[in-house]
């Protein structure tokens, strides 16, 4: 006499009714609420040294001098004149 096979399992389909198959159910969802903001990418910084220009830094970090505007835009609170940056300034470098 075993402990199995006593029947009466709660999830057992009633006799004559095959177990339902939900393997092909397709689910979608949407919301009027915006999705959560993605976590901020790790921000790089660059400390200006003597002789640096934004173009030079852009060439060094992005591989193209023309990308200096990205650095300027990200540091407008620090840089009043893009032609004048000073040694020791800590610039944010956007990804």
């Amino acid at each position: 006499m075993g402990i199995f096979g006593s029947g009466g399992g709660g999830e057992k389909p009633p006799p004559g009714k095959p177990k339902a198959d939900f393997s092909n159910v397709k689910a979608t969802s949407s919301s009027t609420a915006p999705p959560p903001a993605a976590p901020a990418a790790e921000e790089r910084t660059y400390v200006v040294v003597k002789g640096d220009t934004l173009s030079k830094i852009a060439q060094q970090l992005y591989g193209k001098a023309s990308a200096w505007t990205r650095i300027y835009e990200a540091n407008k609170d620090l840089i009043k004149d893009p032609d004048r940056i000073y040694p020791g300034q800590k610039l944010r470098i956007p990804q």
Binding site: G10, E11, K12, P13, K19, A20, F22, N24, V25, K26, A27, T28, S29, S30, S31, T32, A33, P34, P35, P36, A37
Partner: protein
């Protein structure tokens, strides 16, 4: 007559003087400025309503709430929330009468006020008839259940 007229004149002058003095009194202090309106703190997100239906309005609410579906219908749940959260997870857990999980899907939202989130289920070969239940969870905690049938 002259005396009484003179007295009346004096009295009138005095009365005028009193009036003038009253007018010269310092103006009443201006009413205290109303306290600055407190910045309303948004309520934390909470589930307001869970509706089931077969089609949606443009605002993600159920067009005609029902708890009876045909095997070929889409099963649509619309969950109305209120309050704010920078990251909340709504989960729709659908189960069949035998306890089987039909589907469980989640949606991450960041509402700043009232919002509606819909979950839609489709089964190309039709839903088995029987009793079903939808349970909605907000951040893992049950926020409500709705029973419905497919017949």
């Amino acid at each position: 007559m002259k005396r009484s007229a003179c007295a009346a004149l004096v009295l009138a002058l005095c009365a005028g003087l009193v009036t003038a003095c009253k007018k010269a009194e310092a103006p009443p202090a201006p009413a205290a400025a109303p306290p600055p309106a407190a910045t309303p703190v948004p309520a934390p997100i909470h589930v307001v309503d869970i509706s089931l239906g077969k089609s949606l309005n443009a605002d993600q609410t159920v067009a005609e709430p029902t708890t009876t579906f045909a095997p070929t219908d889409k099963l649509i749940a619309s969950v109305k929330t209120d309050g704010a959260s920078s990251h909340a997870t709504l989960t729709a857990r659908w189960t069949y009468e035998d306890g089987q999980t039909v589907n469980e899907s989640s949606k991450a939202i960041a509402p700043s006020g009232p919002a509606a989130t819909e979950f839609t289920l489709e089964k190309p070969d039709g839903w088995p008839t029987g009793k079903y239940q939808l349970e909605v969870l907000l951040n893992g905690a049950s926020a409500g259940k709705r029973d419905f049938v497919v017949q």
